[in-house]
Symmetry: C2
Subunit: 358 residues, 2 copies
Amino acid sequence: MSKLELNSNIHNYEVAFCDSFNFLDDLMNIEKKVFVIDKNVYKLYKELFKNIRKDELFLFDAIEEKKTLKTVEKIYKFLATKDAKRNITLISIGGGITQDVTGFVASTLYRGIKWIFIPTTFLAQADSCIGSKTSLNFETYKNILGGFYPPNKIFIQPDFLDTLSKKDYYSGIGEVIKFALLKESYPKDFNSIVNMVEQVKRKNDRLVTIKKTMQVKKIYIDEDEFDTGKRNLFNYGHCFGHALENSSHYEIPHGIAVIIGMIYANIVALNRSLISKDIYKFLNKKLFLPNIPIKLNIKLFDEKILLESMKNDKKRVGKDLTIVIPTDDDIRAIKVDDLTFTEFSKSYNQLLKILKLK
Amino acid sequence: MSKLELNSNIHNYEVAFCDSFNFLDDLMNIEKKVFVIDKNVYKLYKELFKNIRKDELFLFDAIEEKKTLKTVEKIYKFLATKDAKRNITLISIGGGITQDVTGFVASTLYRGIKWIFIPTTFLAQADSCIGSKTSLNFETYKNILGGFYPPNKIFIQPDFLDTLSKKDYYSGIGEVIKFALLKESYPKDFNSIVNMVEQVKRKNDRLVTIKKTMQVKKIYIDEDEFDTGKRNLFNYGHCFGHALENSSHYEIPHGIAVIIGMIYANIVALNRSLISKDIYKFLNKKLFLPNIPIKLNIKLFDEKILLESMKNDKKRVGKDLTIVIPTDDDIRAIKVDDLTFTEFSKSYNQLLKILKLK
């Protein structure tokens, strides 16, 4: 079992990479604990969880609509009835939504409780599980609630990925591509990124890619945990991507929305003459378009909702829109706050053409 | 205008001690802001706030029953409709409840926004405004929700205290006594604490006492912001005090509940032969009993509710109860986790006698 140590202003923590499920036995021995598990994961791996006591188990539908204060309150309620208070350990098992909801609970109950997280999706394993962020949706606003609070320990067991649908698996690939593109090594070797993405689709190479992706992320979050500078650049593909999740009512999963968001960001950069047509075309052809494994529909791209969502982006600071775009052919990213509504609309129409929706 | 700098793992911050209300003019010049003000404070100081724009103003009843997620959600809603997102500044004005509610909002909206706090009660000025804690009640559980998030800046203007009721003023004195007793200078000169408490009742000496109290607190929070060790000792008077707030349905204000809680903690210590009868009697006679300016009623001391509340204390770790008690005549405090139910009950009955309720 190899390990990765992470620093945090809240508390340092550790990722353990596992090749068996034995770590679950150790968790069963924690004295005062509750498990919060995605209902779907629980069903798929019932045998694995058979020793969990009923009074220590909270199951919930880990769907986007439940990433709310309402679910959080249900978990508060479940925990508040236990004798153990601040000394309780919350163990959560699931994907990003499970992480977001339980991270919010762990950070806001008793001013912070011990939290162990076992990510079960590619996206959560390779990306979201580190970096301390928690998010909740509020009314029509996506991810506007949340703070910074890392788990105390994370266990990565890639066998969980075997039961992911193709759509969900590719959702993880979106973030893997993003981190590979943001990695600070110049000049960038895009062909090796293309190869890595092909590799990751093969079972045996998954863990290597997860580790590589985490290493890129670690450098950014070590320097800027609270996302006030450099870490902003992780929003490459996300400014438009989040809006697209909204506009598609989450039919387009996060990572795929991020891939489309990177295409969009590159269109903006191309229009501003920041990147060359060559690199723009190469990335679309080799990295982005082949990794969108779902049929897209124009209905999912409602221009009004997309614009409205970008207006409500928590990173927006002025009257124009905020977006992270590449500034050169090495895809060095910057955040700009001056994307005008006209520019938004022009790039939107170009995107539809590229996606063959128009 | 003198200043105090404070360190925090979240962000460093500063307390400014003011002798006029001019600082409000500077706040009015902040470009993207909202004010959240205790309705009562707003009414009392209407003239002061006359230039605040209506669309930048949120008023609420800062009462214990509103220290909930429901109020927090109303403020989220008010803020979410503004164009400014992460770059908005929340300016809150009021006592501890206003601080708790707005601190929770500031820490959980957009993963943390800029927050300026102007405490208007003695309790909030001398104690709660520093130390990063935010708290909400949840269902019947007091203060179980919340985290750590300091304001970016605090303005202390003691003239706000002129409109406090005697009951609320004394509520601040409770914490002043606690910090004076916890100050690490030995042997302790209790007569000087008695003098300070008398002084603080005179208008001109207030600011000096507020600064002195903050200095004691600063030493503890610099070392243990996240309350995992030394800072626990601030709960001297609070374990029973919180329970009493519950049992009295908040008729007994916080600081006065803390004074009674310190009497209770000392009874436990006396029964365990940790402190001498002499010091125990001196403190009751000179510091605690003279600073309870309200008529107490046995009905406010419901034994069942008191026990139930102490069972639900977030610091409780085992089957017995948790309490902070003095270990010697210098009132060096420790946290113990072995207060049995029998001991609880015996001390409770002794307390009733001392308060002449039995």
